[in-house]
Symmetry: C2
Subunit: 408 residues, 2 copies
């Protein structure tokens, strides 16, 4: 695939996304505010707002009379333009969340999934159940749903031997999903979803380059360059969790040995603890989320558990070394940590990780690097995949030219 | 630094670069040929050609009468527009190469450098000597030199504690260089130079994403995404040679342990051989280039040296694993190998490296990945850094908007 040529249509598309992002963050804003926030000209903002009003995405909210001069009109996103659903298919649960068109959450429903049952019919059934439950709970008519985004983890991409998340390929079970759901759907992987959430709701657009790192059962990176998510040739970009920390090291569930995930994924952290204190009661905890929660609790003063402290030190060392590799290869301005492990342990890990990254990065490449726990909370996978579905809708109605994967 | 906003001026700039690249590769072309090759419209090509003729970069070469219809005009780059010099500052030599404005090589001069003497005065003196010798040899008036590009390896970036290659920083010895050279100069690192060479003379513009891997004393990657070199926040992007292959592994000359370079750099390969056959005569070879050349010779039929074959197997395994990490993180469409180690050993390494990359990359991410020895030969660092100096000149005269590092 040759280099993509950019056109003036792409520039218009970017201006529209800039205005949508600004309204999403501000809630309400005047045209003048939008000029200030986006850096676009008065004329461009006027045209863009007019396009978005015509498309029903933005409404004029109210007129406010200033003390002097003519009254200004306040703008906001039109939540009632329709509904968007984001479905987070995880190893142990499937959660569907209904949003309005302003990306405010309306309702959410979760069904349990068995990590060991990856039969396609089973997963399709559960996706449909979660979706129907969430739509029912929100009291939304199906006709009002503009799109459904489905996040499928990398591990499920191989069902039937075909990758689900490749832009130009099709998941072999997509036809079944499409038949059962009968609404416009997009499928992507969770790394692209969290990167999208960071881009619309977090730090993504404030930096020319940023990486958001997901820490949970799986580990991965959403890489955002100049406001665009790096997908790579086949949508695998960001699978840093399956890059090497240690040649011939720990066995990873992906089949490779020595992957970053085998050290800093939840079960990798548990393996580190078991190496330090084999008889430690937490080494036998069978639920990953409870294990991570208990680690955080065991670190609380006045008497933090020494084996757990040592586990944190070693985990920070592993994570810092692996992040230094991202600095060596991509050299971003900012790194955010997200996912339930990051929320539980981020406060303990971040200072030691920062020191290690500075030591291990080439030259002074990490001297100005910000490393923070992400400000995007809640289910950032569901929010991100719903945002991708919204982008796809915007593309369908001709407002943006964003190139999306598997738009079905 | 926030996301860079793209303008219609950038689009014009890209169209001009497209036409320049097409003329560089074709030698001569009509406006109609350029439409075919670039995919630009007739009107855009006409405008761009007129701008480039006005700027003296392109000339109408000759009229050819077709059998039917009106004669067409052939266009070519105007080599006589001026001269460009590329200086490759390497660990063991400094080579200056003079090019005409069509990037055809005119003359070249090399001075030896002592790897162990990194005193700034010493290096500045040698850069000036090489430059003067090359300009003299080419019989070029200094007034005709449009620009000088200087490639400084990462290891030298730390002189005086300040990075030389950071776009917004200054090398502490730049003032001295500028005084002594008294011509427009740009400084960049060799990874960005080889990526530029791949972009103008190789595979760079045929793929939406590609990585050029440099194998020599040092090891690194030039990453090209959508026709643009990934620089990162502080120009360190691509320092993959200093990402981890093995946590706590071999000592690297950068100070870190277990870097990719410590395994697949020339002296890393020698260390592998010494591990396999400590008494092997090549394990004691003191010149890196001769060591690599002798390895290639020892692999020739009818009786390839078994210890050298084993060294190649292990090197292919290390290199394949490290490239699989680039696939996991960046997922490019194509990878080219360049540098004197790649030219000497590429034929032996590439098939085994390809197999290893496919095995070790996540999912089927590497299934369609092309891995080849680069088609850009000769001193691609000198060619690339001269091209960066030419881009800087084009930017100075307002023809392109490419953002360059340390333009002085």
């Amino acid at each position: 695939m040759a280099v993509t040529r950019r056109t003036s249509r792409d520039i218009r598309s970017e201006s529209r996304l800039d205005v949508l992002h600004a309204l999403l963050l501000a809630g309400e804003a005047s045209r003048g505010d939008l000029v200030g926030v986006t850096g676009l000209s008065n004329a461009t903002v006027a045209t863009v707002v007019s396009d978005l009003i015509e498309g029903g995405l933005v409404i004029e909210a109210r007129r406010t009379g200033g003390r002097v001069g003519r009254p200004t009109t306040s703008l906001r996103l039109n939540g009632n333009r329709g509904r968007i659903v984001g479905v987070d298919v995880a190893e142990t649960y499937i959660r569907a969340t209904v949003f309005d068109a302003a990306l405010d959450e309306l309702a959410s429903a979760e069904v349990a999934a068995d990590e060991h049952d990856d039969d396609a019919d089973y997963v399709v059934d559960r996706i449909v159940s979660a979706l129907d439950a969430a739509i029912g709970q929100a009291g939304v008519a199906r006709a009002d749903v503009l799109g459904v985004g489905i996040s499928l983890p990398g591990g499920m991409a191989g069902w039937g031997g075909v990758s689900a998340v490749v832009p130009d390929a099709t998941w072999p079970h997509v036809d079944r999903l499409r038949e059962r759901i009968d609404l416009p759907i997009v499928i992507d992987n969770p790394l692209k979803a969290i990167a999208t959430a960071e881009l619309w709701f977090g730090e993504g657009r404030r930096h020319a380059s940023m990486i958001t790192i997901n820490l949970g059962t799986g580990v991965g990176a959403g890489i955002v360059l100049e406001g665009t998510i790096l997908r790579g040739a086949t949508n695998f970009a960001g699978e840093w969790g399956h890059s090497l920390l240690a040649l011939d090291g720990r066995q990873c569930r992906c089949g490779r040995k020595g992957c970053v995930e085998a050290y800093v994924g939840a079960s990798g952290i548990q393996q580190t603890l078991a190496g330090i204190a084999p008889a430690h009661p937490l080494a036998a905890e069978t639920t990953q989320r409870e294990f991570i929660g208990a680690l955080a609790a065991a670190l609380e003063p006045p008497s933090p558990d020494p084996a757990v402290s040592e586990t944190m030190d070693l985990t920070a060392r592993y994570l810092g070394s692996a992040i230094a590799d991202l600095v060596a290869i991509v050299n971003p301005e900012m790194i955010t940590l997200t996912g339930w492990t990051a929320w539980a342990l981020g406060g303990h890990l971040v200072p030691a990780v920062r020191r290690r990254v500075i030591e291990e990065s080439p030259g002074d490449a990490a001297a100005g690097l910000a490393i923070e726990v992400s400000t995007v909370r809640g289910n950032s996978v569901a929010t991100g995949i719903a945002t991708i579905a919204l982008e796809r809708f915007l593309s369908d109605v001709g407002l943006v030219t964003t190139r999306l994967p598997t738009a079905l």
